[in-house]
C-alpha cells in the first residue's frame, strides 16, 4: 500500500542572472542567499542531510543544493471513529456506522481496525498525509529566497508594479536532478540556459547540473567560485612581482573587491612616468587604489616604483591596448593630483581657515571654521590637564596649533577631489610648509582611528586633537538631537565614540569622561553656535560612549559580560581605571571565596530591594542593637576590611582590594547562617538592613559582585 519512499537524493542548481551587481554587495548577498535557502528548506522539513553552497559573480548569484530528498516524508495519522459496540453487529459484521466512517475516511471497510482507548475499544482508520515533492516545494520557495535578499537600495526596471532587486534580473536557471524546474522568478521563467562572459563566452550555454555548469561557464569565460577568482588574481600578482622584482603594496580589501568585480580576472602591469613619484605615496596610492582599483607596487626598501597592476575582466591584452588605456587614465589622474598639489600650496595651510566658513559641518552646529575653535578649546583643556598631572609630552601650544590647522585641508582642491585623503593632505602640506613633525603628524592622524582595527594617532598631540574633534562631534550632534539609530548614523558618531575609547585605553590617558563631556558642552556654549547641552543630554552622551567602551572590553579585550557589568556598575568615568579594575576582577575570579561571595552579594541586593532600602540610604549601624556574635563579627570584619580596601584602592592595587573583599566570605556566611535579617523587632531589623547596605556600599566601588555569575547575554 505505502509506496516505499526511495532514499534517493537529488541536486538543485539555481542561478539568478542579473545585470552587473555592485561588487561590494556580493559577499553579503551570497551569504544571505545561502541562509535564505536553508531557512526555507528547514521550514518545509526538507533540510535533513542537505548542503547548500552559494557563489556569485557580477552577473549572477548561484546556489548548489545537494542531498535534497525527492519528497517530504509522509505523515501517518490515526483517526478514531465509532466505538466497537456501534461499529459491529452481534455477528461481528460492520454496521452502517462503520461503513459511513470508512467512506468518510476514504478507506475500505476491511482496512479499519480496532484500537484500545481509555474509553474502550474504538474503530480506527489510518490516514497518510503524503509529503509534497521537492519539485513542488522548490517552485514555491525559490522565488522567496531571491525576493527576501536585502539590499541597501533596490530598484525597479519595468515599473511600479514590477519586481524589485538590486539590478535587473535577466535570466533564471533552475535544474533539479537534471531536469529544468518550472519556476518563475521576477516574471522570468527558469530554464537550463545560462549566459557566459559578456565578451569571452556565448550568450546561451545549456547546463545539466552544477559541475557541468561550473565547467561550461569556465569554458565561456566565467569562474563561478569567488575563491578561485581570488586565487587566480593572487597567483598572477605574484608572478608579476617576481618578474618585475618588486612587491605588492598589500591591500586585502582590494584583493577581495577585484575578485567580485570580475568574472574572469586577469592581472596586467602598467607603468607611469617616474616624475610622478615626487608626489607623496599616500596620494599616489589613493589614486591607484580608490579611483582605479590598481595595486601599487614597491621595491625592496618599501618605496613605490612607477608601475601598477590592474585587474581586467578579459583573458588577455595581446595588443597592449588595455594597458595603454589604463596608463592614459592614470596619467590624467596623476596630472590632476600634481596640479592640486602645486595649486593648493600657493598659499599656506592657515590661509584656508577663512574658507572653512563656507564648509558646513551640521546646519545647527555651524561651519568647520566654528568647529575648529571648539576643537582648539577642548584640546587645550585636555593637554593642560595632562600637563598638570605631570605628563611631559602634553604640549598645549602644539596641540592648539595642530587643532587650528587640522580642518584646513577640507577647503583644498586636493581634498575636494580625493575626499578620502582628508587629514592626510593637511598633514603633508603642514610638513612641506615647515610645521614641526609633531604638528604635521597630529594633523595627519587626527581622524584616526576610523575603525576597530585602525591605529590611534602616533603622538600625544595627535591624540589630543583627535579626542577633541570626536568629543565635539558627539556632544554637538547629541546636543542638537542628531542621535544615531540602528540604521542611520550620518555623522559617524559610533565611530567617533569608539575612537575616544580606543585612544584613551591604548594611550592610557587620564581622562574623566564626564568632565570631558562637560568641557565639550562648555565649548559649544561659549563658541559659535553658542548652544547649550542639558544635563540629561550629557548623561545620554556618557552612556553612549560607555556603551562603546563595554563593547571594546567584551569583544576586544575578552572580558566576560558579567565582569564588565560588575565593574561598570561600580562606576565608570575613567576608562583606564575601569580597565585596571577589570583585570583585577578577572584575576581574582578563580579564587575559591569569590563565586560564593558573589552569590551572597546578590542575595544582599535582593533583600535590600525587597525591603526598599537603597544602598545609598542614610541608615546608620548601631552596634548596641546587635543580638548575636555573627552580626557583631560581620560588622567588625566590614569595618576592618573597609579601611584596608580604601587604602588599596588609593594605591591602585585593585586586585589586593578585591582579595580583601573576598576575605569577607566567612563572616558573611556566618551572618546568613546565624541571623534572620527580617527580625520582628523593627529597630533590630533596620539595624541589620543598615549593616548590609553599608557592606554593599563599601565593597561595590571596585566591582559590583552582585552582577557576577549572571547569565551571559549578548
Amino acid at each position: 500500500m505505502k509506496a516505499p519512499v526511495a532514499d534517493k537524493r537529488v541536486e538543485l542548481l539555481f542561478e539568478v542572472g542579473c545585470e552587473e551587481i555592485p561588487a561590494g554587495m556580493l559577499p553579503k548577498a551570497e551569504e544571505e542567499f545561502r541562509t535564505n535557502i536553508e531557512k526555507l528548506l528547514t521550514a518545509e522539513s526538507l533540510s535533513d542531510g542537505v548542503s547548500v553552497e552559494t557563489f556569485s559573480a557580477p552577473r549572477r548569484l548561484t546556489a548548489w543544493v545537494r542531498g535534497l530528498p525527492v519528497k517530504q516524508a509522509d505523515i501517518e495519522t490515526e483517526v478514531t471513529g465509532p466505538p466497537k459496540s456501534v461499529a459491529y453487529d452481534s455477528v461481528g459484521a460492520p454496521t452502517r456506522a462503520a461503513q459511513s466512517f470508512a467512506e468518510k475516511q476514504r478507506v475500505h471497510v476491511s482496512d479499519l481496525y480496532l484500537v484500545q482507548t481509555a474509553k474502550g475499544e474504538y474503530l480506527a482508520a489510518k490516514q497518510v498525509k503524503l509529503g509534497r515533492t521537492a519539485e513542488q516545494i522548490l517552485i514555491g520557495i525559490l522565488p522567496r529566497a531571491v525576493h527576501d535578499l536585502t539590499w541597501p537600495r533596490s530598484m525597479t526596471w519595468t515599473g511600479l508594479d514590477g519586481p524589485r532587486f538590486i539590478r535587473p534580473i535577466r535570466w533564471i536557471v533552475a535544474v533539479l536532478d537534471g531536469k529544468s524546474l518550472q519556476v518563475s522568478v521576477a516574471g522570468i521563467a527558469a530554464g537550463r540556459t545560462t549566459r557566459g562572459h559578456r565578451f569571452l563566452g556565448s550568450s546561451a550555454v545549456n547546463v545539466s547540473n552544477f559541475l557541468d555548469y561550473e565547467k561550461r561557464l569556465q569554458q565561456n569565460g566565467v569562474i563561478i567560485r569567488p575563491t578561485k577568482r581570488q586565487d587566480k588574481i593572487a597567483a598572477e600578482l605574484d608572478a608579476h612581482a617576481k618578474k618585475g622584482s618588486y612587491s605588492i603594496h598589500e591591500d586585502a580589501s582590494l584583493r577581495k573587491l577585484v575578485a567580485y568585480l570580475n568574472e574572469y580576472p586577469t592581472v596586467i602591469q602598467g607603468n607611469f612616468d617616474p616624475a610622478f613619484l615626487s608626489l607623496p605615496d599616500e596620494i599616489l596610492i589613493t589614486v591607484m587604489r580608490d579611483h582605479q582599483k590598481y595595486f601599487a607596487v614597491e621595491n625592496k626598501s618599501g618605496e613605490l616604483t612607477p608601475h601598477f597592476l590592474a585587474v581586467i575582466n578579459v583573458g588577455k591584452d595581446s595588443k597592449g591596448l588595455i594597458r595603454a588605456g589604463h596608463e592614459r587614465v592614470l596619467r590624467a589622474r596623476f596630472a590632476d593630483a600634481q596640479f592640486f598639489w602645486q595649486a593648493d600650496q600657493k598659499c599656506r595651510l592657515a590661509d584656508y581657515l577663512p574658507k572653512l566658513e563656507r564648509v558646513t559641518y551640521e546646519s545647527r552646529l555651524g561651519s568647520y571654521r566654528d568647529k575648529v575653535e571648539r576643537i582648539r578649546t577642548i584640546g587645550r583643556w585636555l593637554t593642560e590637564n595632562w600637563f598638570n598631572l605631570g605628563m611631559v609630552l602634553a604640549h598645549v601650544a602644539e596641540a592648539d596649533r595642530a587643532a587650528e590647522l587640522a580642518k584646513c585641508d577640507l577647503a583644498t582642491e586636493m581634498v575636494r577631489e580625493f575626499t578620502e585623503l582628508q587629514g592626510i593632505v593637511g598633514g603633508l602640506y603642514a610638513r612641506a610648509q615647515g610645521e614641526s613633525d609633531e604638528i604635521a603628524d597630529a594633523i595627519y592622524d587626527h581622524y584616526r582611528p576610523v575603525g576597530l582595527d585602525d591605529p590611534i594617532p602616533r603622538n600625544l598631540t595627535g591624540c589630543a586633537v583627535a579626542l577633541a574633534d570626536k568629543l565635539d562631534s558627539v556632544v554637538g550632534c547629541f546636543g542638537v538631537g542628531v542621535i544615531p539609530t540602528g540604521s542611520s548614523d550620518p555623522y559617524a558618531l559610533r565611530r567617533a565614540a569608539l575612537g575616544i575609547v580606543k585612544i584613551i585605553l591604548e594611550k592610557k590617558l587620564p581622562v574623566s569622561l564626564s568632565l570631558a563631556i562637560g568641557a565639550a558642552s562648555k565649548a559649544l556654549l561659549t563658541h559659535k553656535p553658542k548652544r547649550g547641552v542639558t544635563p540629561d543630554q550629557e548623561t545620554q552622551i556618557l552612556d553612549f560612549i560607555l556603551d562603546r567602551a563595554k563593547f571594546v572590553f567584551r569583544e576586544r579585550e575578552g572580558f566576560g559580560y558579567d565582569e564588565v557589568s560588575a565593574v561598570f556598575r561600580a562606576g565608570a568615568d575613567d576608562l583606564v581605571d575601569v580597565q585596571k579594575r577589570l583585570v583585577a576582577l578577572k584575576a581574582i575570579r578563580k579564587s575559591k571565596n569569590f563565586e560564593p561571595l558573589a552569590v551572597s552579594f546578590k542575595r544582599i541586593r535582593k533583600i535590600l530591594e525587597k525591603a526598599n532600602v537603597a544602598p545609598g540610604n542614610s541608615l546608620h549601624v548601631n552596634p548596641e542593637l546587635f543580638e548575636n556574635a555573627a552580626e557583631r563579627g560581620l560588622h567588625t570584619a566590614v569595618r576592618d576590611a573597609a579601611s584596608k580596601v580604601q587604602g588599596q584602592k588609593r594605591a591602585g592595587k585593585f586586585q589586593e582590594a578585591l582579595e580583601t573583599i573576598a576575605g569577607l566570605r566567612k563572616a558573611v556566611d556566618h551572618f546568613f547562617d546565624g541571623v534572620m535579617v527580617m527580625a520582628e523587632n523593627e529597630a533590630v531589623r533596620n539595624n541589620r538592613l543598615a549593616l548590609l547596605a553599608e557592606l554593599l556600599r563599601e565593597f561595590t566601588t571596585v566591582a559590583d559582585f552582585s552582577e557576577i555569575g549572571g547569565e551571559e547575554r549578548h
Binding site: 552587473e20 537600495r153 539590478r167 535587473p168 565578451f199 588595455i322 588605456g325 589604463h326 587614465v329 596640479f339
Partner: protein, 314 residues
C-alpha cells in the same frame, strides 16, 4: 601606398563631428527621434525637456540628442586638458527600458569604432542623482579600460515622481570618448573635423566663459535674475490650477520649466562665483527643486488630460 594612408586615417579614430554623426545614426536606427540640443543653458542632458518631462507618464518614447552642458564651476580658463566649462553629452532615452538594453548600448560602442574584444569594458556601480531636479536613478558608470565613458541609469524618479514605466538614460561623455578614440591627451587637440581642432572651435569660449563666471559675473544682478525667473515660474504654475478644458492643453507649463532651467543655471553661476555659503546653497537648490517638482506634477496632469481628450475626439 594609397591603402597605407587610408589605414593611418582609420587608426586615428573618429573626428568629433563624426562621432556625433555615428552615434546619431546608430540610435536613429534603434527607433530614436533625433532631437536637437535644448536652446536654454543647462548643466546636463537630463535637464532637456526631452528627458526630464518625457520620462513622466505612460507613453513610450525613444530619443537621442547632443546636449552642450554648461558647468561654470568646472571651467579652467582653457588651461586644463580635461576640464571644461562646457562639455558635450550625447543623451539617449529609451522608454520603456528594453530587456537587452546593455547589449544595444555595447553595440553602439562598436558603431563608433571600439572593438569590444580588444578592450576591458565594465559596468561599475554608480547611482545618479540630481538634487535640483528631484531626480535619481540606479545604474553604473561604464568604464572602458578604466576610463569613464558613459553614465547608464535606470531612472526611478523625475521631479519627485515615481516613474512608471522605467526609462533608461544613457549619457555619453563625447570629449572623453573622442580623446580615447583619437588617442590624444588634451581635449583641445581633438580633431573636430578634418582641418579644425576642438581648440580652434572652443578654446576662446572656454577662456571667456571661465573669466566671466569666476571673475566678472555680477552676482547681485544674477541673484535678482534668479528671483525674477523663480517668480515667473511660480506664477505660471499657480495659474495652471484654475484652468479647465481646452485651455489646459495649451497652458504654458513648458515656459514654467524654462524658467526653472534658468534658475538652475543662475544658481550654478552664483556657485562658481563663490558667493553662496553652504547653508544658502542648500536653500537655493531646494527652491529650484520645488519648481521642478511642481512642474513635473502639473505636466503629468496636463498630458493625462491630453490623452483623455484624444480619446474623446476619436
Amino acid at each position: 601606398m594609397k591603402s597605407k594612408v587610408k589605414l593611418e586615417k582609420r587608426s586615428k579614430g573618429l573626428n568629433f563631428q563624426d562621432l556625433i554623426l555615428h552615434l546619431s545614426h546608430f540610435w536613429v536606427k534603434q527607433g530614436c527621434v533625433l532631437q536637437q540640443p535644448y536652446d536654454v543653458e543647462v548643466g546636463a542632458g537630463t535637464m532637456h525637456p526631452e528627458t526630464f518631462l518625457r520620462v513622466l507618464g505612460p507613453n513610450s518614447y525613444r530619443v537621442g540628442y547632443v546636449q552642450p552642458s554648461r558647468r561654470p564651476a568646472d571651467g579652467r580658463y582653457g588651461e586644463n586638458p580635461n576640464r571644461l566649462y562646457k562639455h558635450s553629452q550625447f543623451q539617449v532615452i529609451l522608454k520603456p527600458s528594453p530587456v537587452d538594453v546593455q547589449d544595444i548600448y555595447l553595440k553602439s560602442l562598436g558603431a563608433i569604432g571600439i572593438n569590444l574584444k580588444e578592450h576591458d569594458i565594465r559596468f561599475e556601480e554608480d547611482n545618479w542623482e540630481s538634487p535640483t531636479l528631484g531626480a535619481w536613478g540606479i545604474g553604473w558608470q561604464v568604464l572602458l579600460d578604466g576610463l569613464e565613458i558613459t553614465q547608464f541609469t535606470y531612472f526611478q524618479q523625475s521631479g519627485g515622481i515615481d516613474l512608471d514605466p522605467i526609462s533608461v538614460e544613457l549619457t555619453y561623455g563625447l570629449e572623453r570618448i573622442c580623446a580615447f578614440l583619437q588617442g590624444v591627451e588634451s581635449v583641445y587637440s581633438l580633431r573636430w573635423s578634418e582641418d579644425k581642432t576642438y581648440g580652434d572651435i572652443r578654446l576662446m569660449e572656454e577662456q571667456q566663459f571661465s573669466e566671466y563666471s569666476f571673475d566678472r559675473s555680477d552676482a547681485p544682478a544674477i541673484r535678482s535674475e534668479f528671483e525674477l525667473h523663480e517668480k515667473q515660474a511660480k506664477e505660471l504654475l499657480d495659474g495652471f490650477k484654475g484652468v479647465e478644458g481646452k485651455e489646459r492643453v495649451r497652458y504654458p507649463l513648458l515656459a514654467a520649466y524654462d524658467h526653472c532651467l534658468k534658475c538652475s543655471q543662475l544658481f550654478n553661476l552664483l556657485d562658481a562665483r563663490g558667493v553662496i555659503s553652504t547653508t544658502e546653497r542648500a536653500a537655493l537648490m531646494a527652491r529650484v527643486r520645488t519648481i521642478a517638482c511642481r512642474t513635473a506634477a502639473a505636466y503629468l496632469s496636463q498630458i493625462g488630460g491630453a490623452s483623455v481628450q484624444r480619446e474623446a475626439r476619436a
